[in-house]
Symmetry: D2
Subunit: 324 residues, 4 copies
């Protein structure tokens, strides 16, 4: 598992499946397709599942919206609605709930700027409740949002900043938005993961040691993440795998090579890849050249989904009126 850097529970499970582990104890999965979006729900329900997938127990919902590339406005709204529905199932919002949205990542590094961009676009209302309560529209709930910055710019661990804010304003829910790394390039900008386990050490593409979750913050914490990069050494790993799959069907010495590789277990293969490609690729990432536009687009989808989820009976049209 080590060399395969992925923040998606879905991909962690895929890795096991590629190793012919189809029934993973402690993990329950269901899938459905709605409006052209594939929804997978990975439930890690025991310590064994936790160990197997390398992710804490909890619910990981993934929306795979491969047609996002066509930039169809209706499809875009569908994704936001589905995101809102899935969020709704994980949060038990009532009229007085206060939600804090946290945009993780760095404004100045394009593939890491998703969180701050969502914070800049989401409908924020808590100040209306606090300072002009008589102007509160009955459809809105109290929402606030911060983009705390990253360790290299602030000198403070992100988790500490958030804990400080949570302790003062005491929200009922925290939703942390983050850019992720996936294993497969076709998931970049097309896949949304919603996890009720929050952010845990080692996940995310930034520099986060302290968990941002119910344990550290004391309130239910949901993480929403979208892959914006694949680590370049993952590509090296995948290329080798693709070669092996290709060789499988060939005869002669290549076939004997394949048999050798087949016999090597995953770990040996990983070590070999690590030695060969990691040094050169370092912390290089793979992205579409148009990352800037892709991040803007997906930030809109997340902000819309959050607005639909966090307020009551509001359409995106209503939200647009509110925002202006």
């Amino acid at each position: 598992m080590k060399s395969i850097r992925t923040d998606l529970a879905l991909e962690a499970r895929e890795v096991l499946q590629e190793q012919n582990q189809f029934h993973i104890p402690g993990v329950r999965v269901d899938e459905e397709e709605k409006d052209g979006v594939k929804i997978s729900r990975v439930h890690i329900i025991s310590p064994l599942g936790e160990e197997k997938l390398g992710k804490p127990q909890g619910n990981y919902i993934t929306l795979e919206a491969m047609d996002i590339k066509n930039r169809d406005p209706e499809y875009q709204e569908n994704i936001s609605s589905l995101l809102a529905q899935e969020l709704g199932k994980l949060m038990n919002l009532n009229k007085d709930s206060v939600t804090l949205i946290v945009g993780l990542g760095n404004w100045n590094i394009t593939p890491d700027s998703l969180g701050p961009k969502v914070v800049g676009r989401v409908l924020v209302t808590r100040h209306i409740f606090e300072y002009i309560p008589d102007q509160v529209d009955e459809r809105i709930r109290s929402v606030c949002a911060v983009a705390p910055g990253v360790l290299g710019i602030t000198g403070i661990e992100t988790g500490e900043i958030i804990m400080g804010i949570v302790q003062r304003i005491k929200p009922d829910f925290v939703i942390a938005i983050d850019a992720l790394a996936s294993r497969k390039t076709d998931r970049i900008g097309t896949t949304i993961q919603i996890a009720d386990t929050g952010i845990n050490p080692g996940s995310g593409i930034g520099n986060k040691r302290m968990g941002i979750n119910k344990d550290t913050l004391g309130v239910p914490t949901i993480a929403i993440g979208v892959p914006t990069v694949v680590y370049a050494h993952t590509i090296g790993r995948d290329c080798l795998q693709l070669m092996i799959d290709e060789f499988k069907n060939q005869a002669g010495p290549i076939s004997s090579f394949y048999q050798t590789l087949e016999r090597m277990d995953e770990t040996q293969l990983d070590i070999m890849v690590q030695q060969v490609v990691s040094q050169e690729l370092g912390d290089m990432v793979v992205t579409p050249k148009e990352t800037d536009l892709m991040i803007d687009y997906i930030a809109d989808i997340l902000a819309d989904g959050l607005d639909l989820a966090l307020h009551e009976n509001m359409s995106l049209e209503d939200v647009k009126h509110f925002l202006n």
Copy 2:
């Protein structure tokens, strides 16, 4: 005083002087000139001074660097050095001091983006002390920095966010950077105010009700501000004043008009100006058209000054090495 919106103690004093109040009880002033920069120190030392100037008791140091417009690199370094010297007098830094720099204001509104820009340029070191203490260079002190955003974007009062962070990381000093409004356009981008009273309700061009000062944060809090706008109605007020001064020296009916105006006290004049010009000018501001470039330039000067002040025996050349 009401209609004259100024965040500078220096200007508050000027207003009184214009009303022939030259000896203001409870206020002590000294001035000097160094390297082409005029340094004024207004010390408000009693409740009476506080009331007269409409600012809390404390020390307000103003650097007026009118030649900043020539963009001479040496002059720029002089300003940073003088800023560092004045900061040094207000802060009793020792080897283990931790300083939190807070960049107030809104990234997305050019004249309000000074604070966040300084945060993005300052040398931040606290994470080195926390996570790789063996790599700490003996010349550096622990500095961290946040740009918490504004109420309209976060839904949380800036003061609350800062209090949350201060309570968790317990810095020894807070330095809050803010864009100010002045009365005179020639102070825009040329004047730096350093105040050991922090930020107090009603000051700053943003939306800050809660003080960001020693009372609210529990640690010494210094505010550094630079005027980036003049409120447009101030211009209206000043134009009238300039007219009056002009008429003073004329004979005939204009002279009698002047006498009338002379007899009106400041309050009456203000009310008249308010009625006449405020409705049209609303919250319009006066700025140089090149505000974007001006803010970038002054942000560099402040960041350099902070780096020189907060670390020991470091030149700007050294800092440049560190930052890269």
Copy 3:
């Protein structure tokens, strides 16, 4: 006229009206109101009109959309539609027409960035006609767009760059988008001027000596401008005027002052204002503090209006599909 810096024909006419010149020879005006937008059409039809208004002969259509401040999405679409209708009347587009949109101004100076922003948002199609003609949708016409930059950044007069491009690609129409200066702050971001005279020396807030018009380019050239600033000394002038109007109704010495001012003609008054306020205000401008957001908003309206005008039977919904 000299001290009153305005790029709007409508305001040039207002100045004359304020001097009780209601019937201006050589100038025809009609007005109507549609969907909450006031449409004024100033037609300068003789050299005398040209001299009186200080603008070349031609048609100047102004849309005043004061409710733009409410940011109502429907109202926004109405303005775009009205802009498209008025453009349609000035341009005799046919199926094969090629239009070059030119975004004047400087990306890096917020109040001057309107033109480049519109260029970045408009639907551009000429390359489809040139390189993949079989994919041309029958509803689109050939549109191309450039943002040539400003003299201070390029070292080349904008007009020369545009002439070079026009001579090579030979468009049938040029539409130049520019940020303007108005006399009144309430026109900032709310008023759109469309002129079939193009851009002429001395107009616009930038640095343009060479005309960008039919004479210089050889093709019909339409200018679309929106005020984004008022020069600060205009405010000084207006404040004085407001005072005078106020004093008019008062008795005593102020009344006699008013009579004196009344007797001064406009020119004398202007000279006085110039002497008194210009030195201090220099090239300061008055803008809303949120200029950044205002420019973004109006750039969307202009881009939508251009898309509706330049293609056939396309709705904004259709355009959105095309852009993505």
Copy 4:
């Protein structure tokens, strides 16, 4: 050669060397090392050389500055000076030479924004010569600069825009700045190629069909390029190569596999890679995650190098005074 997408002549030659073609007819190479920068000069001097390297006849100078990653200010200045020296050898500048700098690429796509960024930072002087010739400092020469945008945004081929401008202002030299794609990730942001052949169809990471060179523009045209990405499928290709090299030294069936691969010629190998990895990787690129910062840094180096090359006896300190 096909599957190996590189814009660097140096790498085109390396590919041949990897195929054991060390003496390439029609190609002369010399190398030296100065101040920690490796300078390679590839001279393509015959049609055979042209065909072999897939680049037009001319001189290709490459500066490899691997220590750029340390961000040492002195090293940075060295690179700028070396760039200026090499440019000086290719250009026969005299007192009256006019140089047009063209920044190719797209402002809004980070890895493609190098050219426009350099244009925004370079010292531009032509307008001083044209409009205030008496203020011309004797050390400066006439320089102008444009960033024409990309086909997808303008609808006009970049080459056409530049031809239009060149025909009007008749510069003596054109220097085109562009972001490139290399084969190796360690060249990203560390290698500068200077070519007196200009930009030729198929080179550059953007969308350029028309050459930007002496043939099309009629004046000597130099291209300066820096790799900012590696195409992701190149990584796939390289990984396979690395594996093969690794296997070489092993015994058993892997060794026989290696012999098979050895026997496949480059073309077969490429086809295999193309089939296997291209579909998945599409137009994905590999970049450092901090591309934004890297582009800013290298744009400064190029702008400094151009300033040193194009003016006479000016230090970077002098230029800094001029720019402000």
